[in-house]
């Protein structure tokens, strides 16, 4: 690290360089720098939605890929997500004002009996980082909590997490209840958690099993765009 590098002045960078710098700063989890850069782009007349998608989501995508590939680990991802949050905090009210398009809404929670939340929190943060709206139900959720929340929030995606091999089967209870009520196909159901695998996801009738938070984001995007295509076609 040379001293020269300490002297980057964000406001002196042109737009393209600034966005590149934001990618680096997100990667390094520098919250204040991200907040400053967001404000600079706003002053330069950028649309809040463009700042979100081109700068923040773009940067978090890099973080997500390196997390997926085992180059970054949880501590770095948490810091990056925290920096992202700083930027989002500024953008959120502006996004609502400007009626920016939404990526989609996810209701997420750890299933009944399971009190582990690190994995779920990571998914929440990465999903927000990717521009999704996330409603986090916390830990230990019975089926009623999920059903009430997806209806009330008009969610697109239901995410369920379990860390224990003994709580995994409860995901099936939730999905079976959705089937019984005839609402299963109204939602994209994603499941995740350390002991799960793809086979399990299929066996219980989820749309997809997501190995980690980065995969959850990619999968959510894919399913949301498929849903939009269907709507356009139908």
């Amino acid at each position: 690290m040379s001293d020269e590098e300490d002297d980057i002045i964000l406001s002196e960078l042109d737009d393209e360089e600034l966005v590149q710098q934001m990618f680096d700063d997100l990667y390094d989890g520098l919250k204040e720098e991200i907040e400053e850069a967001v404000n600079i782009l706003l002053e330069r007349g950028w649309q809040p939605y463009d700042i979100l998608t081109k700068a923040l989501v773009g940067g978090m995508t890099i973080v997500g890929h390196d997390f997926r590939d085992g180059i970054l680990f949880v501590p770095e991802v948490l810091l990056a997500a925290n920096a992202m949050k700083g930027g989002m905090h500024i953008l959120k009210p502006l996004l609502a004002e400007t009626g920016a398009p939404k990526q989609g809404k996810m209701v997420i929670g750890t299933v009944k009996g399971d009190i582990h939340d690190i994995g779920k929190n990571l998914v929440s943060m990465m999903m927000e980082g990717a521009g999704f709206e996330v409603v986090d139900l916390g830990i230990n959720n019975p089926v009623e909590n999920y059903l009430e929340a997806i209806a009330k929030e008009e969610a697109d995606i239901l995410g369920m997490s379990a860390l224990l091999t003994t709580t995994m089967p409860y995901m099936k209870v939730v999905i079976d209840t959705m089937i019984a009520q005839g609402i299963r196909d109204d939602y994209i159901v994603l499941v995740g958690g350390a002991p799960l695998n793809e086979e399990f996801g299929k066996a219980i009738g989820a749309d997809a099993y997501c190995r980690d938070a980065a995969v959850a984001v990619e999968t959510a995007k894919e399913y949301i765009s498929r849903k939009h295509n269907q709507m356009a076609a139908g």
Binding site: M1, E5, D6, I8, Q20, Q21, D24, D25, Y27, D28, G29, L30, E33, I62, D66, D69, G70, I71, L72, F73, V74, P75, E76, L78, L79, N82, K112, G113, D114, I115, H116, I118, I139, N140, L164, T165, T166, T167, M168, P169, Y170, K172, A194, P195, N197, E199, F200, A203, I204
Partner: protein, 336 residues
């Protein structure tokens, strides 16, 4: 050296530890989501049976039912204030079973992670973590544990906090981490980095190693990462009995007793002194491991190829050491 574990390590080539706690308790009817530690009080006979089953299957050492007996975990069951007493009962029941075994059996007081995130991105500070571990540790030692045993740790900060807490009460200890993410711990620590951390502690453990993670082959790869550093400190291996599979509505680990017997011998041949199982490891696995360790001759330390041939393939390409496969072109960091 006055503790039972150090004495045993001086005279024995290897020690057989126990298997799973959770898997066995669920087989006895523990409901998912319930804190197993409540059974120390409400179902003591089942906890004695858990311990006794390990002893009867040939374990020289077993862990107490206190993995989640810390203030942070118990708080989620509205019992945050009961860490000391539930830990103490866990150890008392263990002492009872060990003393009735008719041979030397070591009671290791299990200390699990707080479940909170420490370090720059976290919410749990060092002093609070030390206080939490100390409370559990005191309960376990007062209940008669021979040694403390912190396990399934993923953050170096948390391992260090536990070490400090144990030192505060002058208790002998061991500690293992869980390497489950592309060869590293969830928080990114590699096997050689753990050795460096352990040897740099002001009060290092009697033994250290790996537990849980992803199956027995991955765990053995981590062991080779330890031994490659040339460490002389006794090593612990407690691998899962294969990978969990969902069969007819319940979870089944696919590792057979034969596979775990192979694993036990590979661990011993690699230079591990304390060998046991983790999730999915039942008494029948322990019996097969004991028999194999007693009857199969010691062999040369296995290579990665030997391990994958005997135990199955690894879950990731590398053990997480060395250069990452892809590096990001940086414009330069502004903070080091």
């Amino acid at each position: 050296m006055t503790n039972a574990l150090s004495r045993a390590l001086e005279t024995r080539d290897w020690l057989l530890a126990d298997g799973a706690t959770g898997t066995n308790l669920f087989n006895m009817g523990l409901q998912s989501g319930d804190a197993p530690e409540f059974w120390n009080e409400n179902e003591p006979e089942k906890i004695r049976t858990l311990y006794r089953n390990a002893v009867e299957a040939g374990s020289d050492l077993f862990l107490t039912n206190s993995f989640g007996a810390n203030a942070s975990r118990l708080k989620l069951h509205d019992a945050g204030h009961r860490a000391y007493e539930l830990s103490k009962i866990a150890a008392e029941l263990g002492r009872e079973v060990a003393d009735a075994a008719g041979r030397e059996v070591i009671v290791a007081g299990s200390v699990g992670p707080t479940g909170e995130i420490m370090g720059a991105a976290g919410s749990l500070g060092h002093a609070d973590a030390v206080a939490m571990f100390e409370e559990t540790a005191k309960g376990l030692m007062d209940g008669g544990a021979d040694v403390l045993w912190v396990e399934t740790i993923s953050a170096p900060e948390e391992y260090k906090a536990a070490a400090e807490a144990f030192n505060n009460i002058g208790a002998p200890w061991c500690g293992t981490m869980s390497f489950d993410t592309a060869g590293r711990t969830m928080m990114g620590m590699t096997a050689p980095a753990m050795v460096e951390m352990v040897e740099g502690l002001p009060t290092p453990p009697i033994a250290f190693g790996a537990n849980c993670g992803v199956g027995a082959s991955d765990l053995m790869r981590t062991v080779l990462g330890f031994t490659a550093t040339g460490t002389k400190r006794p090593l612990i291996a407690k691998g899962n009995a294969g990978i969990p599979k969902y069969v007819d509505g319940h979870i089944h680990y696919d590792g057979t007793p034969e596979l775990m017997a192979e694993y036990a011998c590979l661990a011993r041949d690699s230079g591990v002194s304390i060998i046991g199982g983790c999730c999915g490891t039942l008494p029948e696995h322990l019996k097969a491991m004991r028999e194999a360790l007693e009857t199969r001759p010691r062999g040369a330390a296995p290579s990665l190829e030997d391990i994958s041939e005997k135990l199955g393939g690894f879950s990731s390409d590398s053990d997480g050491t060395g250069e990452p496969t892809k590096t990001r072109e940086r414009r330069g960091r502004r903070r080091s």
